[in-house]
Symmetry: C2
Subunit: 217 residues, 2 copies
């Protein structure tokens, strides 16, 4: 399995969790089989792209039948390691951090914030939504104790790199970065950045470009 997945293009990889999510919804609604055009409509992605994505995983569907929803869900669950729960830490419990703790991936059974850190936490720790929040002084100790290697970073920009360096030093493997800082990390560490400003600017850029294009027509 791992050998197959390594050949999958990054763009396809990024769509896998979305395929999984959508197919799970179809399964929950009682749907047994699905055509690539139905899947295309639900995914808002053209059918050719879906067929190309799926081609990387061998024969998932049958001609004239479409796809078996249950088979696809269990296939993508395996691919995404959905059977394995990942426990993550949240670093920085300001307004965004609190929103993430409150949400805490309720709909997802395989990822969960189990510990958080914030300088406002007292030395003995405190609780929010059943998650323990400790002072950052205890960050290394607690993360190692709990064997957590994936963190969500919602700290102020000015401390983002410093906190990252501390995480790197204890062997963290992945950071979901909500700060606008382009974190410097060794190649072996995955950083995925979600910068609301950049996302909004990109959206606006595409909209204005659509407008220019339609004016040229």
């Amino acid at each position: 399995m791992s050998e197959i997945i390594q050949k999958v293009p990054e763009a396809t990889s990024r769509r896998l969790p979305i395929y999984y999510r959508i197919l799970q919804k179809f399964e929950q609604s009682g749907k047994k089989r699905i055509s690539s055009s139905e899947l295309s409509e639900a995914m808002q992605i053209d059918a050719a792209t879906i067929r190309r994505d799926f081609s990387h995983f061998g024969a998932l569907g049958r001609k004239g039948y479409g796809y078996d929803v249950e088979d696809l869900v269990s296939f993508f669950r395996r691919v995404l390691n959905q059977d394995e729960q990942t426990e993550v830490a949240l670093i920085g419990v300001g307004s965004l951090g609190s929103a993430i703790l409150k949400y805490n991936f309720q709909k997802s059974h395989n990822t969960k914030v189990i510990v958080a850190f914030d300088p406002k936490a007292p030395p003995e720790g405190k609780q929010l939504n059943e998650v323990n929040i400790y002072h950052p002084d205890q960050m290394e100790e607690k993360l190692q104790q709990l064997d957590v290697d994936v963190v969500i970073l919602t700290v102020p920009s000015k401390v983002a790199q410093e906190v990252t360096d501390r995480l790197v030093a204890i062997g963290i493997k992945g950071i979901l970065n909500f700060t606008p800082v382009r974190l410097q990390v060794p190649d072996s560490i995955r950083v995925h950045t979600i910068d609301f400003s950049v996302e909004l600017q990109t959206l606006i850029y595409f909209i204005r470009n659509d407008e220019k294009e339609s004016q040229l027509e």
Copy 2:
């Protein structure tokens, strides 16, 4: 200019706001020129990709000199329409919506949330961080009055499509969607979805895949 930009691949387009952000930081720190390897390190993107991205915009640098920081910043500002401020609306002021209002793109001078909507707002409206929050009953009226065509959607999943249909009906052009719902909209409307679960699952998927790969070595 618009003709040139239309030929740019989507992956390049998505990096433009990041180039702009990084170059602006160099400019603010007093740096006059920059080599593609320096830019590569700051961007955490290989130099070949940067040169390929820049090649879509003609000759931006000079051989043996590198790039003039100020020229690049003003070039990307023009490309991204940074000179033009976009006022956006926030729909749904729960915990994530509040975090976004609090943050309100302070570092960005060209995007700003100017109005928000939430069912808990009284008929006469209320204020949070100097932004007026109205009841959703007034959504169409206020958005049209204020000439807003880009919204940030932070409503509960179960009402996301219904709210979207109302926005489509009054001619909204873009939605930054923070709900996990794959919104159904006409082709002419841009939707950019940020789903924290999917982002986290994708990150974990890449990490686990890295691990498998290193075990095979």
